[in-house]
């Protein structure tokens, strides 16, 4: 990819009006060089204001930078020049969902589905509808204990941040795990992480490394942290790749405290998880 980035950079330097900014900006985004990617996309959009893909690229980079408002503006710009752009509708659905504007999120996602967006939009739509319904229930009955899916909702302030609590068998105890399209993939993630806490605990003991404190991994678009939680549960927090590790650790600490409080006040244990494949 580095060779291609060099080639595209040289091409853009030779011809600043080239549309190669789309490939270059996207490649830099994937490499996590978000500031440079954003500048290139911004210049590209200034030169090609009627190109929906330029605005779409800018929106994706803004999401990766955690700038939800800027992403929303960019996708609105896409729809001004290409009113049927399903990707922009999907993107605006994600932005509205993160901003808890569930009615708007549902409207955008429904439009995206009508305009031929993939099957994932249908799943996202279901998530928005269930989330919206959950909010209504919570409003109607505040005395009821905090809904487990919203366990970390007030702690997750930036786009791309998500948190999930799994029991020893990978069943979801609380929180949600939203992918970059806003779909809750908690059950799939839980299924793949089944038993990791116990496995690491056992290995650390045999390797004489003491108790394990955290596992952090970086991906192309996110940083994911895991830590042991009470009752042998596993806490998972993810944020955009642009998030500093120190900030992620702080968020993990806050989520850990929330888990302790929640388990204490709700008497929750591993038995309350739900199986991957079933919806709460």
């Amino acid at each position: 990819m580095t060779d291609e980035i060099t080639r595209w950079s040289e091409e853009l330097a030779r011809d600043p009006s080239s549309r190669v900014f789309l490939q270059l900006g996207d490649a830099l985004r994937r490499k996590g060089q978000l500031d440079v990617a954003f500048k290139i996309a911004q210049r590209g959009v200034e030169r090609h204001p009627n190109d929906p893909e330029g605005h779409d690229l800018l929106a994706h980079i803004a999401i990766a930078r955690g700038d939800l408002a800027r992403a929303g503006q960019a996708w609105e710009a896409v729809l001004r020049v290409a009113p049927d752009h399903a990707g922009a509708m999907k993107g605006l659905g994600y932005v509205c969902f993160q901003q808890r504007r569930f009615d708007d999120a549902e409207r955008y996602l429904a439009q995206a589905a009508q305009n031929g967006a993939g099957r994932d939009v249908i799943a996202a739509l279901e998530t928005v509808r269930s989330r919206s319904a959950t909010d209504t229930i919570a409003t109607e009955d505040i005395a009821q204990s905090v809904d487990s899916r919203r366990l970390f909702a007030d702690l997750l302030v930036d786009a791309g941040q998500t948190a999930l609590l799994l029991d020893t068998e990978g069943y979801v105890l609380g929180g949600v795990y939203l992918d970059p399209d806003g779909t809750d993939v908690a059950e799939g993630v839980g299924a793949h992480l089944t038993g990791i806490s116990e496995e690491v605990h056992r290995a650390m003991r045999r390797l004489d490394m003491g108790a394990w404190k955290s596992i952090v991994f970086e991906t192309q678009v996110a940083v994911v942290a895991m830590a042991p939680a009470p009752s042998d549960a596993l806490l998972i927090v993810a944020a955009s790749r642009a998030t500093p590790l120190g900030l992620l650790r702080r968020l993990m600490g806050q989520c850990s405290e929330r888990v302790v409080e929640w388990m204490a006040t709700n008497g929750r244990g591993t038995a309350n998880g739900h199986r991957p494949g079933s919806r709460q």
């Binding site: 970059p180 799939g188 993630v189 394990w212 952090v216």
Partner: protein, 115 residues
């Protein structure tokens, strides 16, 4: 017999605080090559690193997060860092006080040398 990975592992093991470096097959958790201090359990480390990396990779795939580029496990008395190319996972075991930023840089550099 000299292993083609020896220079890479030597370079990593020379870093301050590093106790062991291994190249592991992610598929089966077997050691491909290693430099471990006396007392370190290479086979057990290899199996653990491969298993965690695989789980991280599959969960990242399920969440549409793209490829895992770096993994770090922190424990009370040590830390394990890992990167991956194809089926090979390059693993470093270090003291808890080791500079993980430096280790990360060296691991990513070393990854470029693995063919």
């Amino acid at each position: 017999m000299n292993s083609p990975f020896e220079p890479v592992l030597d370079g990593l093991t020379r870093q301050r605080g590093v106790r062991a470096s291994l190249i592991v097959s992610e598929k089966d958790g077997l050691v491909v090559d290693s430099k471990v201090r006396f007392g370190e359990q290479g086979d057990r480390l290899a199996a653990l690193a491969a298993s965690i990396f695989r789980k991280a990779r599959l969960s990242a795939r399920a969440a549409h997060l793209g490829a895992v580029s770096f993994l770090q496990l922190d424990a009370e008395r040590g830390r394990i860092c890992a990167v991956r190319r194809d089926d090979l996972v390059l693993v470093v075991v270090a003291d808890a006080a080791a500079n993980v930023g430096l280790i990360r840089v060296e691991l990513l550099k070393a990854l470029e040398q693995i063919q």
